[in-house]
């Protein structure tokens, strides 16, 4: 590079630079936060901290709360049965009232999984910095925003100051070129990426997903990809905004009133052609097959046509030990074709795959058919609004007629925190994001899948893709 000639910037670097409140040698950058999303689990101790120090919420108008992790998905207008969950939800309600924070409670049309709520309100927009005490905040990166999960101490910090001292992550490009085959979705893209780079592969990076296969995705499919950036260990994941993004925001309740000015700015949000990423990874979309996890971390995944791997085949000792432990926990035998694995519960929902397009694509497959008598299927819309939309389209009837359970919005079976849980030894095909030991309930066994694989599996009773029907 010639001296004095500025090198181009990546998208993440541009957004980061625009949000620096203060920069000093040897200190983290003080970053301005455009939007702070709140839920009941990671906020009570933060509000308590404000009370103890007599500090107000600096920008209630840049803060929004909803109830999602703890809430039941049945009988939502009755008091929450679990007294401890109820206390946490009641605490959020009291805190939001005391500090003037907008809250969407159970029963409200905009209640739902926090990462579904932001985009559907149009509050998630390109070029923003967005944080939430939840690691799947990376979802919002699909709009071309820097969005990342934070801990409760940081939640308190953002409430008090609307800023966060942060060290700028390195940048990684993941280039996905080509065309997805029918039956292959953005969930399969991200599962394949995580299997390729590992659960620690993105550590210290913001990932920018690029390439023709990414540009061809709908907004909701892009959210699925960005959602699981954290499963690759990345701080955040984002996609440059384009017409698909603008079209999605247009008409949403909080879409900008000075639309043209906003769009002009959004159009400046791309990685310059002469910018350099710290790392680049390539993935061919043409070759992708439906993907499924067999183990207990999201990197332990394979194409659905493969068989359960043999731990002895791993050269790396740590990977071998992890695979042995995973097979033991999952109750699987090396060499078993993945498609022969019988499933007890299918879960369709979560911040990964609980949006309207996910429900539509699964409904298309189960329409007019019956789910296998050996399993149960839970369909949990990501928000009350998604539920109403689905009902307006008759999707609820499609699922109910097929023998599935139609629930109210929440995190539900994605994490074992509310009444929707797996029993010990129960095996799920789940459209959520984590297959950790006990994630969906103590002793539960999780296979991560796309909505299409979830629906096909529900019909056949074993892990299946629509092509198997």
């Amino acid at each position: 590079m010639e001296k004095g000639v500025a090198m181009g910037k990546t998208l993440a670097e541009k957004i980061w630079a625009e949000h620096i409140v203060r920069q000093a040698d040897g200190e983290p950058d003080l970053l301005y936060i455009d939007l702070h999303l709140i839920h009941e689990v990671t906020s009570p101790q933060a509000f308590d901290g404000l009370r103890l120090t007599g500090r107000p919420v600096r920008r209630p108008d840049l803060t929004i709360a909803t109830e999602d992790h703890n809430v039941p998905t049945l009988d939502i207008l009755k008091p929450i049965a679990d007294p401890v969950s109820k206390l946490q939800v009641d605490t959020l309600r009291a805190n939001c009232k005391e500090f003037g924070v907008r809250l969407h409670s159970l029963g409200d049309i905009d209640q739902g999984v926090v990462h579904v709520v932001g985009p559907q309100l149009g509050i998630t927009q390109p070029g923003m910095t967005i944080v939430c005490g939840d690691s799947h905040t990376s979802t919002h990166g699909a709009f071309g925003a820097i969005a990342f999960g934070i801990g409760t101490s940081e939640v308190e910090h953002v409430l008090a100051t609307q800023t966060l001292p942060s060290t700028r992550p390195k940048t990684m490009a993941i280039n996905v070129e080509g065309t997805l085959k029918p039956g292959v979705t953005s969930k399969d893209i991200i599962l394949a990426i995580i299997a390729k780079i590992g659960t620690g592969g993105g550590q210290g990076y913001i990932i920018e997903y690029r390439g023709s296969a990414i540009r061809a995705l709908s907004m909701e499919s892009r959210m699925t990809v960005c959602n699981m950036s954290i499963e690759a260990g990345a701080r955040a994941g984002l996609i440059a905004p384009d017409e698909t993004t603008f079209e999605y925001i247009k008409g949403k309740p909080h879409a900008p009133e000075n639309w043209d000015e906003a769009v002009a700015y959004w159009k400046s949000l791309y990685t310059d052609s002469d910018a350099k990423f710290d790392v680049e990874v390539d993935l061919n979309a043409d070759d992708l097959e439906p993907f499924v996890t067999w183990g207990t971390n999201p990197g332990q995944g394979l194409p659905l046509n493969a068989s359960v791997p043999n731990p002895a085949d791993y050269a790396d000792t740590t990977e071998r030990t992890a695979a042995e432990r995973a097979l033991e926990y999952m109750g699987l035998t090396a060499g078993t074709p993945l498609k022969e694995i019988a499933i007890d519960t299918v879960f369709l929902g979560s911040c990964t795959n609980g949006r309207i397009e996910d429900l539509r694509s699964a409904a298309d497959i189960v329409k007019g058919k019956k789910i296998a008598s050996t399993l149960r299927m839970l369909v949990v819309p990501g928000s009350a609004r998604v539920r109403l939309q689905a009902e307006a389209e008759g999707l609820d009837k499609v699922f109910i007629d097929a023998g599935a359970e139609w629930r109210n919005a929440g995190c539900s079976m994605c994490l074992g925190m509310n009444p929707d849980q797996l029993a010990v030894g129960e095996r799920s095909a789940s459209t959520s994001n984590r297959n950790f030991e006990g994630r969906q309930g103590k002793g539960g066994r999780t296979h991560l899948v796309s909505p299409l694989v979830a629906a096909a599996t529900a019909l056949r009773g074993t892990l299946s893709s629509p092509a198997d029907l």
Binding site: T53, T91, S135, G151, I230, N297, G416
Partner: protein, 198 residues
Amino acid sequence: MEKFIKHTGAGVPLRRSNVDTDQIIPAVYLKRVTRSGFEDGLFAAWRNDPDFVLNKPEFKDGTVLVAGADFGTGSSREHAVWALQNYGFKVVISSRFADIFRGNSLKGGLLTVILPQADVEAMWAAIESDPSTQITVDLETRTVTYGAISHPFTIDDYTRWRLMEGLDDIGLTLKQTDSIDAFEAKRASYKPATLPIR
């Protein structure tokens, strides 16, 4: 926050990689609205196993957790840090930590030290052969010492200073209120707001 300058204590060898925060503390234990009492949820699923390291009497007083690679992946729950601290851990050593967990730990005064995997494995062997081995983690000199062995570790100057002074991050930022005011004054008008409700 309590100052962290130097800590000496016994080690606990956790020979597992990819210990995610759902393993450190499962979601059912996250329902408290306080910062204390999370020790009962620490590694809850594994505590039923009598062979699990924390159930062995020789390791029950350990304060330095020596863990496998990629410790703290997954959920951003700071409860994972609180559970470790509530239980009595002061330091976690691993060859790699997940970003959010490491950020949370250093904000909350739980020192996370990165050492090469070979050094972690040597520590496991030393602790297992003599569980009373005392490990000293010195933030001032940035070293981990046990017996005759000493390993240097790196931590950025700013974080080290904050931990050694026990400083409250929010207090430090509030000194920059003028800069925040100035930044807000020039924010673009098309940036969304959650209020008034539309």
